[in-house]
């Protein structure tokens, strides 16, 4: 996989991008990812379990994330779940996706389509 460029995966499916963002600062288990995505988006995006694990399966195959064997401190470990960590390749892909979206927004602005101010 070493010779693969992150751009070859673009555009990332929204669920995959969200999962990468949720793992950006911390290793999480599946349910943790769902909660993180939900809180980051003010409950706008709720990943269903099916979508989550299907995405995780593909992201593992694509080397975007890895399953890690070391555990957080036992008091933080939630029911001995499986934890996932973003890879360097995953970070590169997320960055490339962000760039792509950024370019897209720039083009939209140039055409007079301004996003609403939050």
């Amino acid at each position: 996989m070493a010779d693969r460029r992150p751009e070859s995966l673009l555009p990332l499916p929204p669920a995959v991008f969200h999962i990468l963002m949720a793992l950006a600062d911390e290793d999480r288990h599946g349910y943790g990812i769902i909660q993180e995505v939900s809180s980051r988006t003010d409950a706008e995006v709720r990943l269903s379990p099916g979508t989550l694990y299907r995405s995780i399966q593909r992201m593992l195959e694509d080397d975007l994330i890895v399953e890690i064997s070391e555990r957080p401190a036992p008091e933080l470990d939630d029911e001995r779940r499986r934890y996932y960590r973003i890879t360097a390749f995953g970070r590169a892909a997320a960055r490339a996706e962000a760039n792509r979206l950024h370019e897209l927004v720039r083009l939209a602005r140039a055409s007079g389509f301004h996003p609403k101010k939050a």
Binding site: G30, G50, Y53, R54, R58
Partner: protein, 872 residues
Amino acid sequence: MRIYRVVLRLYPKSFRAEYAAEMEKDFAHHWRDAAAGARAWLVLNAVVDTLWNAARVHADITKQDVRYSLRSVRRAAGFSATAVAVAALGIGATTAAFSLADHVLIRPLPFPESERLVRVWEELSLRGYARVEPSPPNFEDWRRQSTMFERLEAFTGFGGAMTGRGEATPVIGATVTPGMLPMLGRQAAIGRILTEADVARDAERPIVISDRLWQSLFAASPDVIGQTLTLDRTTYSIIGVMPADFYFPERRTDFWRMLRFSASNGDDDRGNNYLQVIGRLKPGVSIEDAQAELRVIAANLGRLYPKELEGVSATMRPWRDQVAQQPRLLLLGLVGASLCVLLIACTNLANLLMSRALARRTEFAVRAAVGASVDRLVRQMLTESMMLALIGGVLGVLVALASLPLLVRLVPTALPIAELPPLDLRMLTGTLVLTTVTGLAFGLLPAVRVCRKTDPAALKDGARGGTSRGTERMRSTLVVAEIVASVVLIVCVGLLTQALLAVQRVDPGFKVDNLLTMRTALPSTDYGALDRRLQFYSHVLDRVHALPGVESASYISWLPMGAFRGGIWEVLSSNPDATAPDGFAPLRGGERQSASIRFVTPRFFETVGTPVLRGRDVAASDIVTSPFVAVVSESFANKFFPDQDPIGRSFAIGLAARTIVGVVGDIKVRGLERDSEPQVYMPAAQQRMLFFYAPKDLVVRASVPPATLAPAVRGIIASAAPELPITAVQTMEQLVAGETAPRVVQLRVLGGFAVIALLLAAIGIHGLLAFTVTSRAREIGVRIALGAKARDIMWMIVGRSAALTGTGVIVGAVLAYAAGRSLQAVLFGVEPANPAVFGAAAAIAALMALAGSLMPAWRAVRVDPIEVTRSE
């Protein structure tokens, strides 16, 4: 929670193994957090989510498998090509046979709500006829009195000459009651159809034409409406063109004109049976109810007209079920045979795949070692077999499309359906199902067999190539199944060949060779008068007799085994009875018997080679002013004048009393395979009435090849009547060959199937034995090293083949006997337990087995003991 666990089973096993536990935990979280009312919503969400995502996970895996399969299919191109070809043959044969049978026997007729359409007949049980065309007065009474039909309509066929547009052309059409086309429920493509409103416009002679006629005659011009068409010198005005896929009453019908009953045409005669009747039942009315009511009506009519309608009832059956037993059985036989071919193809493929899978055990073991689960491997193999089957299926459709035109003779012309089944969704869906079943059938067994034993031992270098006993037994069973199916096919082909030979051996009652035949239908407008007809006959016959190469020639109403085989009349005594419908009293004992009647010109029997057994032929001196005479067939004499000299006896038939002047041999008027009525031949010069029976078929005995006479004879007829079309120009040999044509076609197809089956079975035996030799090479080597003779080794292999073949032949013979019994109706008296056929089938199977085992046996004998034991 339990529900969720069940729903999760929709995911592939491999996915479940990885994530199901986590997903259940997540779900438990949500469940805990949800209020009691929201839980139902939660479950619904989970179900929808699982359905959606499980489908996509499956799709992902299939995509991977397909990619992998494509690679492995490409790598083993030889194997793949063989497998695809075998699958294409099996699927193609079955698709062709099934779509043909579906087309002829099952598919609804191409009319709206066609299941309500029924054919209606008179039933003359007293005279032994189950179905007779109704007469106009009976039809009209039924129509008036019955309450069960939405409509009851009638038609009659019409063949005539179209003139006024170049050369006179023969055309076939139908004369229909004005409600017929509206009842069928199809609209015209251009203009309109005939309706009841056209009765008022009778003087304009409205006519509707077929798409074919429109294309050929009017070059598909859109302003055809209002143009005229001349048929038998009557001019009709075109009011509509039917769509190309409108066939009624049969495929070749080119126009529809209006049927009007008139007394001058004999339409007030209750014994004038010539109508074809079709009814549309009211919605919800069963055919039994309609028949019961019609029988009551017929019984009442019988009381009103006791003389004419004694014993006359009514009968009906769905129009769809009109296919006669013989074409039905021929088609079903074809379907059965194609299933045999498919079975053989599947078993062959299973065996091919099995040996390939065994050869790939190392590959599977590697994949299993790196974590592929057994179900993933099974799935992978199934994807591969499905892919081979699908490619085979696509090719199979092409095979079917290419072979269907060869089977046209098996589609009866008398049905209102297209010549060939259309390539439509129905056929493609059928093929897809067939392909899927095929792919599963030949893929599943080997996949499960092999993957159950993905033992790591296969990884070891120099692992034994041996196979488990179970696999060996499975492969043997498959080979036996192939032999069984081939034996069944060979026996059926043998029985049907015997039947064909038996039919061809039937004496038609005349000498088939060196006869030229052709028809000139004489329109009643010009040839209604006897003088005009006799003038025509003598003009033609005098000149034909003068042609070099002609021995004799004659005209007859209809040739035996031709397009029209009916034409029967009740045999009465010669005692006049003014109160009886025909003017003569019934035969002694009041028994009612019919005979086939034909009018002939002199020298007919000499021409066709039918022996005159007693008395004389019809003579030139038998004219309308001399005493009326008849020549009868031997069976007629035996039946009506047993134990006495029939010459000089009298009887009445066809509205006249006649004296027998000659007895001739019987002719198979109705065909080689059917019983024919006794025959009565009357001089054409004594035909004052019954214009329908006027001689129109010319037959010429030649001393040169008969076809070479055709141009000269045509020229003579054209010089006598340039406006008449000449049709059905053929030798008598061609005419009689038409009798057995469907059988010949079916046999050719079945024969082809049998050859394919034999080939495949031989390949199957070869494959199995070759594999046995390879996997037991070491054992064979050891045996040879220990002093086994070449003969022993050879016997080891051939004996195995003999055991398989013997089992296959015994089981096959039993099944073949059952198949033969179900075909009995088309076997024409050939016994299903025909020892010659079964013996030949066994011998052929043995030869095939021998051919399949020769190479492996040779290889076994040449095994080098040092070579194979060295690796130990």
